[in-house]
Amino acid sequence: MADDPQRNFRSAYYEKVGFRGVEEKKSLEILLKDNPLDVEKLSTFSQRFPLPSMYRIHVWKILLGILPPHSDSHALVGGYRREQYENILEALEAMRFISSSTPTTEVYLRMFQLESQVLPRRSEIPPMEEEDADFLSISQAMEEIVVNAMDCYWLIKCFFNQFNTKFGDSLPHLPKSLEHYLSQEEPRLLNHLKSTGALAQLPYGPWFNRCFAGTLPESSLQRVWDKVISGSCKILVFVGLEILLNYKIILMGTSRPEAVVKFLSNIPQENTDAIVTKAIDLWHKYCGTPMHSV
């Protein structure tokens, strides 16, 4: 491969014009032909490269265990998943918990609550908990990424469950971690945020508990979720860090913490792709690139 000048030329060309993913796509296609699928290799691939959008949902389903490693079980298991989805939906309709006018994100929440045995009584629905709001926010973003409602529900449910099971204990430490890397990259900004009292008030909830759902537009968000779903919550720290670095000048010029929070809770949606790209580079720089064979 290395001594194929034409191929190298082509790769270099693609790289220049933004088709860097062609070689990656091919290697992913090879991985996806394995039976059984090597879930570890798929995770490694997803940690290293952005998933091509045509394969993203399929790979997420495998990484989240919605589809099993054996491809010849996919039809059977997919059928089970569909029935499970339909039965829960039907029961909620029969109980008049949901109707055709219920927003889909709320439908997903009620389905999730029923499955987790925490569905409130219909007559006394309590005010929304913070965790429910996180779920709704993630649902809203997933809905923009996934067209099919059944796939969408399964992805939300498994993403939410896996994230909280796997990283629930790490989440409280992420703000400290962010502070640490900010001190490496831009100590002046850190000092400014500290002295103005803004550091303690950064929007950690939307950033870390919701994995930037509601903060980043879906096109950028899905590249972050590739990393989270394949096993890293550290990436969230670097996305937060890059947001801070990207808006350094604005932040340095603001001394009121409320203004900082207000700005960061509603960042401009234009150059978020660049922010995510830089965040992934920085994450690879500090945490290393997974080097398993792909």
Partner: protein, 64 residues
Amino acid sequence: FLEDVKGQAKSELQASESRYQAQLRVTQTLQTELLQLYSRVEMEALASCSTGASPPGGSAHPHT
């Protein structure tokens, strides 16, 4: 190879069990809901007795 077959069977069984467990939760939820609705119907029946409306449902026990 044997491990492979076992692994495949295991993941199929897990998916089937997850579908069953979900159905079990559906049953429990429906039962609770029905129970609540029945007791509400009975209360309503008690409350509206004086209007001459017949009690809703033979299973309601206005004396308890």
